[in-house]
């Protein structure tokens, strides 16, 4: 059965990638990438992505840079992105949300929470679309 939404998971630890894929695969189409640069390349190739789930600390392009790039791009400025990080301090969380992240999950995470937060962010976006009388 074709799933409704495509989730792009960006995470440099291969095992955590696997955990996320296993967690999400029943409900979403899942693509995994190892860092922000690869994730960005996947997006720029025009692959369908409804929501991004990204780690912060990664080589090459980290999560914060990724949010900044997405928000600066005319194509991806509204693409939902949820951060997933071991950094638990409020400074980092606030910084990410201010950069334009839609939510923030602290590692270690409960897989159910990840699944639910993705659904919640997607639902919010669907609802706001309905509320707009003249979508462009």
């Amino acid at each position: 059965m074709k799933k409704l939404h495509n989730v792009l998971v960006i995470e440099d630890d291969s095992f955590i990638r696997k955990v996320l894929r296993q967690t999400l695969k029943d409900d979403f189409e899942v693509t995994t990438k190892e860092n922000g640069m690869e994730g960005m390349a996947w997006l720029e190739e025009g692959n369908p992505v409804d929501i991004v789930l990204s780690d912060i600390q990664m080589p090459h392009m980290d999560g914060k840079n990724l949010i900044a790039m997405l928000r600066a791009s005319p194509v991806f400025k509204k693409l939902p992105i949820i951060m997933l990080s071991t950094f638990a301090d409020s400074d980092t969380r606030i910084a990410c949300l201010n950069l334009g992240a839609d939510d923030y999950i602290i590692k270690p995470f409960n897989p159910m929470e990840v699944k639910t937060k993705i659904s919640t962010v997607l639902r919010r976006i669907e609802t706001s679309k309905v509320g707009q009388p003249n979508p462009d």
Partner: protein, 374 residues
């Protein structure tokens, strides 16, 4: 004994509107390590105080035209930069209660009465000099402690963060196991993978905790400074690490003999040499250890012909050490020594007032430098 470090100079500012009084005071108080600055008016005194941060005491004449001593003192005490400088008022007025009280209410530390009694004046200034030195010592200790505290705070933050990383893997594996348990058919391999991952990540954490315990133990035990023959120490380390046959360890010695905290230096050098052995990927591994002597410190180096470290990883191995290029997937790799090693090493070296860094030109191995304060 005034102080246990080298007696730095003591600068006294003499303020009097009469030149001859200034000369007499200087003559009375002169000793080898004292420097005198002189001001002939209140405004001149303020200028000199603001220009010279080293002033430890001001001998302040009270009765001066334009701006009197109390006014000068008042201005100095209201400026955070100058409020702690000790002041001795020098007043010609016979013991006038009112003046004395006024002096104290301005925050003066003491006063002397003209005509000055040579012995009393000398004794009083000696006391102030001693107080000044105690104060300086205290300031230095506080600064050092604050610096170490900051390092420790940062360290605790990083360690907490790093201890959480393997937990993310373990909890992830457990969740997958839980999911798999609901539908247990044909998932033997998966189960084994999750279990083995959890086990490895747990060992990794245990190793990290061991390094931390080791660090805190050596910090508590080893505060004594002793004479250390570094040549002997390094030879011993090289023996005890049992390097494999294809690894040659060359010591460009003789390394110096220095007075330092032996166990800390040993931990640092042992960590670097053991890394150099462990990560060496050549058929003929070569590790060189040597040093350069500087005035206040010794710069040790440990050079290897191993895989080297990419430029963008070089800072990271000390800071975000849980993910170095040498060990990119920490939660899936078992290492007998964890990344905590290098960050503890950095902390140990910085505690001694030194520094540690690495250079690694492409395909030429890495050289770790340790600046160790004498």
């Amino acid at each position: 004994m005034i102080s246990n470090h080298s007696p730095d100079g003591f600068t006294i500012l003499l303020v009097d509107d009469r030149e001859e009084n200034l000369l007499a005071l200087e003559d009375m108080l002169a000793t080898e390590n004292r420097t005198f600055l002189k001001a002939t008016s209140g405004s001149d005194a303020l200028r000199k105080v603001l220009k010279n941060e080293s002033i430890g005491l001001i001998m302040l004449d009270v009765q001066m035209p334009d701006m009197d001593g109390f006014e000068v003192a008042h201005l100095l005490k209201s400026n955070p930069r100058t409020k702690d400088i000790a002041i001795i008022f020098v007043t010609a007025i016979s013991k006038d209660e009112q003046y004395v009280m006024k002096g104290f209410s301005e925050g003066a530390v003491d006063y002397l009465q003209k005509p000055l009694d040579i012995n009393v004046t000398k004794a009083k200034v000696n006391v102030f000099e001693r107080l000044y030195r105690y104060q300086q010592d205290l300031k230095q200790s506080v600064q050092k402690i604050e610096q170490i505290n900051k390092q420790l705070e940062k360290f605790v933050y990083v360690v907490a963060h790093d201890l959480k990383s393997p937990l993310t893997g373990i909890i992830g594996a457990m969740s997958l196991l839980e999911m798999a348990a609901e539908n247990p058919e044909g998932i033997q391999d998966e189960l084994l993978e999750y279990i083995s991952h959890s086990k490895e990540a747990s060992f990794y954490m245990a190793n990290m905790i061991n390094s931390l315990l080791e660090y805190s133990r050596t910090s508590i035990d080893q505060q004594t400074i002793e004479e250390v023959d570094v040549q002997e120490l390094v030879e011993q380390i090289a023996r005890l690490l049992f390097p494999p046959k294809h690894i040659t360890i060359q010591i460009h010695g003789p390394l110096p003999v220095m007075r330092t905290k032996k166990l800390k230096l040993q931990q640092v050098l042992q960590n670097l040499i053991s890394n150099a052995i462990k990560y060496n990927d050549k058929a003929e591994g070569l590790i060189e250890i040597g040093y350069r002597d500087f005035k206040n410190h010794v710069e040790f180096y440990v050079r290897d012909n191993g895989p080297g470290i990419a430029v963008d990883e070089q800072d990271m191995i000390f800071n975000l050490f849980q993910k170095s290029a040498r060990n990119p997937d920490t939660t899936t790799t078992v290492e007998s020594s964890t990344g905590v090693g290098l960050s503890i090493l950095k902390l140990l070296v910085e505690e001694q007032g030194g520094n540690v860094w690495v250079t690694s030109p492409p395909h030429q191995g890495s050289t770790f430098y340790v600046e160790w304060t004498k």
